[in-house]
């Protein structure tokens, strides 16, 4: 047993090492750019996975939290020049509060009604950003500062060097990579934690879970708050990288894309979700020539996956039984 665990750690280590080494092996800025974008999607997918995969609460308005994160950094930075590194924890807190508030309906509605409430919320948020003056209306906010990083160097004594992220690709690549690793690790740990086990119980049978003394409402709200806050981080990184945010980048299609990454990758499976995020964000780049067929292919894949492999690429056994059984999952 310990032999297997040891090998696993080596494999994870190797994968992480390779991820860090990619920019040195492949110097193409375009590839780094694609991978960075993929990384932001993976962050979102990991966050949504906590809500949908772990707790079994269907959320169709997840892009709204991404938007809230992005706009939080954008407006803080434009109004008070709040630097990126300070904005990250603020966005984290703000989005988790919003996640909590949006999660409140879970106390009243379930299943696909919850999906619709979240969808409605997502649209409301987008329309608000689209119409408010302080968020720049349909033009969005421009001129958001890129992050800067100070790091120590040895130059005849300790000195601080400054790295402007600017419009380069590699600093964002590493930034996103670090966050993906952190969130993935956090998700894996969370899955095995007391809260994670409570989510499984609530997901599989809410009444039974309640009878066993699990505070169902609180556990569900926790899923919403935790899952949403990850979107807040992703949003901050996105805003910092792009330098602009516009309301139409946070539409329903984005929410569905993220959900598709989670579902195709494997609900509740961290590695599945990472794979799903990678595939669905790199595939469109490879299919650039067929870009008009992209969404068509995408739709067909969604239908076919649901018919033939509802547990996703790397779904785990427990979810497989839940998803292919005749019992209602949501």
């Amino acid at each position: 047993m310990s032999q297997i665990r040891l090998q696993r750690h080596w494999i994870y280590g190797l994968i992480i090492f390779l991820c860090f080494a990619i920019p040195f092996i492949d110097r193409s800025a375009y590839h780094q750019e694609v991978l960075t974008t993929a990384g932001i999607y993976i962050l979102l997918a990991l966050g949504l996975n906590i809500i949908v995969g772990y707790a079994g609460l269907l959320n169709l308005g997840y892009a709204a939290f991404f938007a809230i994160g992005a706009y939080t950094y954008a407006s803080l930075n434009l109004a008070w020049h709040v630097p990126f590194w300070v904005a990250i924890p603020i966005a984290f807190v703000v989005t988790s509060i919003f996640g909590f508030l949006v999660g409140l309906p879970v106390l009243r509605v379930k299943g696909d009604y919850l999906a619709i409430v979240t969808l409605g919320f997502g649209e409301i948020v987008r329309i608000i950003f689209n119409n408010l003056e302080i968020t720049g209306g349909p033009n969005g906010l421009l001129g958001i500062a890129h992050p800067t990083l100070f790091y120590p160097v040895w130059n005849n004594g300790l000195a601080w060097a400054r790295l402007d992220f600017g419009v380069q690709s590699f600093p964002y690549y590493y930034l996103v990579l670090v966050f993906v690793i952190f969130v993935a690790y956090f998700s894996l740990r969370l899955d095995r934690s007391k809260l994670g086990r409570a989510w499984i119980a609530v997901r599989e049978d809410e009444v039974a879970a309640g009878c066993m003394g699990i505070p169902v409402a609180r556990v569900k709200l926790a899923a919403f708050a935790v899952g949403s806050s990850i979107a807040g981080i992703a949003g901050t990184i996105y805003a910092a990288k792009q330098g602009t945010v516009t309301p139409d980048s946070f539409d329903f299609i984005l929410s569905v894309m993220i959900l598709a990454m989670v579902v195709l990758g494997g609900l509740g499976s961290v590695f599945g979700v990472i794979l799903g995020g990678l595939v669905l964000s790199i595939l469109p780049e490879l299919l650039r020539e067929f870009s008009i067929y992209r969404m068509l292919i995408f739709g067909l894949v969604m239908i076919l996956m649901m018919i033939f492999r509802p547990q996703g690429f790397l779904g785990n056994v427990r979810r497989k039984y839940e998803l292919t059984s005749r019992r209602k999952y949501f």
């Binding site: 949908v52 269907l58 309906p105 009243r108 509605v109 379930k110 299943g111 696909d112 009604y113 999906a115 619709i116 409430v117 969808l119 409605g120 919320f121 649209e123 409301i124 329309i127 608000i128 119409n131 329903f252 569905v256 959900l259 598709a260 579902v263 609900l267 008009i292 067929y293 969404m295 068509l296 995408f298 739709g299 067909l300 894949v301 969604m302 239908i303 996956m305 649901m306 018919i307 509802p310 839940e322 998803l323 292919t324 059984s325 005749r326 019992r327 209602k328 999952y329 949501f330």
Partner: protein, 303 residues
Amino acid sequence: MELFFQQLINGLTIGTIYALIALGYTMVYGIIQLINFAHGEVFMVGAYIGLTVIMFLGFTAAANLPLALLYLALILLISMIVCGLLGILIDQIAYRPIRNSPRLVALISAIGVSFVLQNVVMLIYGPQDKGLPQIFPDIKFIFGEVTITLMQILIFAVSLVLMVLLHFLVQNTQIGRAMRATAQDHKMARLVGINVNGIISLTFFIGSSMAAVGGVLFGLYYHTINFHDGYLAGLKAFTAAVLGGIGNIPGAMVGGILIGLAEGFGAGYISSEWKNVFAFVILVVILLLKPTGLFGERISDRA
């Protein structure tokens, strides 16, 4: 006061169109507890079929009213049949194989269907807005400051007739009884000799053809359609279905009209930029305060 009546008329017009779409949502949900996410796209396909019929048969502005009505009947009939069959096809391909799967699976599949339909239409007709020619004589009824167009009266009349017919079909015929029985319990319906799969197909046919009528009327009313139109109209119609109590057919009609009115008055009195937000706010509020809707007897989750 003019503004009030004008927005009342506009709201009623768009509301009846939402009501037509909402019927499909509510019927399908009533029978298989599926939010048919692709239903809004069926509405959009209906509008495009209407456009195709107009183009294919070379309809231009009709000289007199009877001829115009004949045109309209023909367009509606073809669009209803095509979309009805499309509805059955969608069910057969995307929903039937996963009938017993959890709802999430069906919901994702439905979103997939929605993407497929949108993009097929986009590939055939192009991504730009498509204009529909004026086929009705431009008759307006003017009461002081308030204008009612012939088209608005027709939309109202056609929808009303169809809704009454549908209500009669569901409440007073053998088929309707079979539909209601299937909605209550598939297994028991099958035991008493009802062809459950046939009834489900029929439900998809009727619901989709109602959406097609909505689509054609929408296209003729606004004179322009786009492959994106189905999503927003579908969501609002879904809101209408929820507002009326999902699974409840008269509820969907009332809900549609209420949503239309809310939108009309909201656009008139508050701001037209916020027009689309009202439906969503109503949706969220209704789901939070009274998930069963105005007339719904169903509980929000039967799982």
